[in-house]
Amino acid sequence: MDKIKFIHTTILRKVYLCYAFECVKNAANSFAMNLKNRSLVSITDFSKEEQLYILSLAQDFEKNPVRNLLENRVVATLFFEPSTRTRLSFESAVSRLGGKIIGFSDVASSSMTKGETLKDTIKIVSNYCDLIVMRHYLEGAARYASEISLVPIVNAGDGANQHPTQTMLDMYSIYKTQGTLDNLKILMVGDLKYGRTVHSLLMAMSQFNTTFYFVSPKELMMPEEYKLYLEKLKLSYYEHTDLNEYIGEADIVYMTRVQKERFSDPLEYEKTKNVYILRSEMLKNTKPNMRILHPLPRVNEIDVEVDEHEKAYYFAQAQNGLYVRQAIITSILGVI
């Protein structure tokens, strides 16, 4: 009986989602118009409907990622702080759509070392391209750039602040693995205090009636401002220091890195570093639909033997970034 009920609700859920996505697609023209020439600095720069539109476009790109939509377009990737993984994902997204790439991958090879201001670099580069993808070690650098640039800016990470394309690919991965974004239970594990990906994901998923579970060492708990934000929205959240506590409830387990430099007391780090490790035996009593996500790179927080488990999704998650970035870039350039 239970199984039939489960199948029934799953079908209903899928029908509803197709309906929701159809509505978004029907309104696609107006969203496409709206996104043209807009910068994406923070996830909240796009409305919920615009985010859903990007996800529906990403679905199309996943089916057909090689298209000549960016012919004669130039995208600059300015990485003031190195991040090979993110840069390659953006550059691959642009290349597969026939666009050209200019830029630099670290400050040492750019004029920044000669003391040029961010303002001058952005002013000059924005003469040479149609869109700038930038990563910077300073918080607020992308917002500032978006206000002086002649072309739109896509933020690929500004210090500990925002990384909206990561958030969108996390949302896309959740949607793909669960068939919905609504009413899910998300367990976040690790550094919840400084981890920008969990903060942005919390903001994004709070639009979909999510229940949150926070598991972290005492020193790295979810900051008050985010808990207050959930309380204002009347969303439930639960906190614990033990990873085993809520793992059976979760639809999504979102793992993050616990970094040594975040601890004021090195002894405290030594005590906790091996506590927040996900091992395959911990997955025994988890839900069948549960999937494990991680923004990568990981250190040791997911045991390598978990990689082979059907619930491990983090490598596929990284690949989803490609389609989401294609959707974002083509929308902003107004070529879709």
């Binding site: 923070s42 201001t117 961010l118 303002k119 910077h136 070690y137 300073l138 918080e139 607020g140 650098a141 917002r143 500032y144 500004d158 210090g159 500990a160 602040n161 925002q162 401002e225």
Partner: protein, 158 residues
Amino acid sequence: MSCSHSGKDKTQLQVNAIREGTVIDHIPPQNLFKVISILNLHKITTQITFGTNFDSQRMGKKALIKIEGVFFTQEEINKIALVAPSAKLNLIKNYEVVQKLPVSIPDKVSGIIKCYNPNCVTNHEKVTTLFHVVENHPIMLKCHFCEKVMTEEHFIFI
């Protein structure tokens, strides 16, 4: 203390009363010098009187400033709301209070305060700071650039 503007007592008139200008009352004493600096009073050449630690029924202690011949715009007045939300402005004409203005907290604060986040772009490039007021009581500002939220104890005036 006496806040008389009647002009009857000549000795008090010299020290206290102004003929035309602005009296800013109900300033928290610890923030008097911040108000002076926010309103750039050190650049004003007309007569200014400062007083502090006066007894106040409402606040316990209060400070006040009397500025001869100067009237402020609403925008200028709102700047002091960050440090003296309870302040009242009295506009004086011919020794009489002709208008009382409360200060109101603005939606945005531009260029008066430094962002407390050392890693914020505004502390590294020549950028005019900008904050959005996200909460009034107690006042909380969100940096337009780095998106960090700060409370009064972190306000550093430029």
